[in-house]
């Protein structure tokens, strides 16, 4: 059970946070189809940063001393670096969509083409392989919170809740949960958030009240890029063992699906991503899933092909979308470049 919850959260979290990144962009009036590309760049730069830091004296010493604190700090630093990379990469979207009023779908597609190509190009030049791995296999294990992190013995009992929250989890999970809440409050309870949303609903009205629409949209896209970049690194850290290969298994696109499925609303997105993460988790580990601890793998014994399980998250999302879409409502001005009255 503990395993099931932890794995579900592992899959749901990158989706949730990247979907929120999408919300920031779309609520400010720009369709960000480049979420996938931004995630790829974030994962790449984050892993590259960790790999670079591995060579430093500080990390070498920390590894020798098994200093978990240093590694948690490194994890936070890598998340920040990935966020910066995502923000910088998203400036390309801002440049095209806001300055040159390009078709946002095309620009997003272009960025999705550039990001993996650039990533694999760089990785191949650096390592002669297509996957960027860490130099030391122990480093990625040091990022995981486990019993020894808290100075406990292997046989120590942490209790059900302690086990659930602090054994075999990542600090990144908790940081992004806090960030999620902060960003949701920023979007709904502050003046900045109100103005940002106004630019996505009725930019002319916002403009007439003295809001600089294009600046707001720049802010929306940049926040979106930073959060998606961070989400990309979290994906690489928690599900790919801190490696990057120019691919995030379509999580950026799936995050867009979760965003629409969650009706552009941070509260609903949590549920949407958890449902998706749950089915994704079942698909990934149904054959070792032991719900009540009696060593009977109920799902594996059903004899259903793994492909059916892998299909489930997508099929379920499709069905739920079909039933809920009548009520869903996209930000009105999303995708439309803003023209000042003086320009027209």
């Amino acid at each position: 059970m503990t395993f099931l919850i932890q794995q579900t959260v592992t899959y749901a979290l990158p989706l949730m946070i990247v979907a929120l990144a999408g919300v920031f962009s779309e609520r400010s009036g720009t369709i960000n189809l480049a979420l996938e590309g931004i995630m790829i760049i974030g994962a790449y730069i984050g892993v590259l940063f960790v790999r670079g830091m591995e060579g430093t004296v500080w990390i070498r010493l920390a590894l020798a001393e098994q200093s978990y604190l240093s590694f948690q700090l490194l994890e936070i630093a890598a998340m920040l670096v990935a966020a910066c990379a995502g923000a910088v990469f998203s400036l390309l979207l801002t440049l095209a969509a806001i300055r040159f009023k390009s078709d946002q779908t095309i620009t997003g597609t272009a960025l999705n083409l550039i990001a993996p190509a650039f990533t694999v190009f760089g990785i191949l030049l650096l390592t002669n392989q297509t996957t960027l791995t860490l130099q030391n296999i122990d480093t990625s294990a040091m990022f995981i919170l486990k019993k020894s992190t808290w100075g406990l013995d292997r046989s120590a009992d942490m209790g059900w809740l302690g086990n659930l929250l602090f054994n075999k989890t990542y600090l990144a999970t908790y940081i992004s949960l806090i960030l999620y809440a902060v960003l949701a409050i920023l979007l709904y309870k502050t003046k900045f958030g109100l103005r940002l949303r106004a630019c996505g609903e009725n930019p002319e009205a916002a403009d007439s009240l003295g809001v600089n629409v294009n600046k707001m949209r720049l802010a929306g896209i940049t926040i979106s890029g930073a959060v998606a970049g961070m989400g990309g690194f979290i994906y690489a850290l928690t599900t790919a063992g801190c490696t990057a290969n120019g691919d995030v298994a379509g999580f950026g696109f799936l995050a867009m699906a979760v965003m629409i499925f969650g009706n552009w609303n941070p509260g609903t997105i949590v549920w949407a991503s958890l449902i998706f993460g749950f089915f994704k988790c079942i698909a990934a580990c149904y054959f070792t899933l032991d719900l009540n601890g009696d060593s009977v793998y109920a799902l594996a014994n059903l004899g259903i092909s793994a492909n059916i399980y892998r299909m489930l998250p997508f099929v379920v999302t499709l069905i739920v979308l079909a039933f809920t879409s009548k009520k869903s409502r996209a930000p009105k001005a999303a995708g439309k470049p803003f023209e000042y009255m003086s320009d027209v």
Partner: protein
Amino acid sequence: MNKNRNRFLYSTVPSLIAILAGLVFGAILMLIVCLMDKNITLGGFWDGARLLIIGFLSKGRDELGNLMFGYNGTHLGNMLFKATPLIMTGLSVAAAFKAGLFNIGAPGQYLMGLTASIVIALAIPSASVPAGLILVLALLGGMVAGAVWGMIPGALKAYLNVNEVITCILTNWIAANLSTLIFEGSAFINNTEPGKSGFLYKTAANGVELPKALLDKVFPGSQVNSGIIIAVILAVIMYFVISKSICGFEMRLCGSNREAARYCGINENANIIMSMAIAGALAGIGAALYTLSGNTEFAWSTYQKLPQVGFNGIPVALLGCLNPIGVIFTGMFMSALEINGQQIANLTAYNEYITSIIIGVIVYLSAFTKYIRGVMMHRRKKGGTKK
């Protein structure tokens, strides 16, 4: 006449500028890498830059290690062969775009077309049914499978107003798993060669392959076959369907102004579904043409990876200005770039992903077409007043 020429200029010049700028960007990137990497000399950069533009004319290196260029039938033939599915997926994306729909589902439609045509081509024994008939059936099967897969997002969009981008993405992954499910443990897996069970039989094993149509004489040593001719004919047909037929007019009207289309009495929902079905059918035919060459091996365990050729249909369509005739040329251009990339990887210290970056940059710049067109018109107007 003059008006037509202007329209032609306004649509092609921005694309050409984007292509040129993309290639220049690629060369600059290669130069930067060369200056930063000690293993790559300036000579290596010069070789790479030349291969980037005319790699498909490369004939390898001579004894002194210098690059040789000249007519290379293998590369040119393979360029045409690889252009075949690209043109088809490009047409698929372009047709949907004309109807105002973004078909990012081409990979899934392609995969379903591929699956259907392989199953038909291998399951019907050529001993009892003539191979030619199986070939036609496999082509039609690929087309129908693609069309059905395209209709799913179309129907959801039309009747339930679900965003087609999302449903296309979801159906892509469903197709990837469905295809693996169909082939897993099936009799189509090629177990004859030890250690190579990841691939299916070639359709030629059942005697089903597209005729070469003398193209193998012109391009010796390549995989080219009549598929490219079929693709070009279909592109021309699509040109007439989109720009000259009533059905194409309705599609375009729905694409440019849905409310106006409804006001004119056009059945908007039927139109959306039909457009997506056409798009899916085109992608499915592309897959069938590729796999029925008889010589291609399909790695059946595809659930983790969507076919790149489906996604590449998007840049092909966009660079071709969504014009079916333009798509023929951009499809060939993209496959030439792919060949160039392989040559770069084989003959220099760079890797083939440089061409993928360039394609991305070109598409990025092609999104500026509206701006460039605006600048062009502005200049022309200014010139007019001076006279």
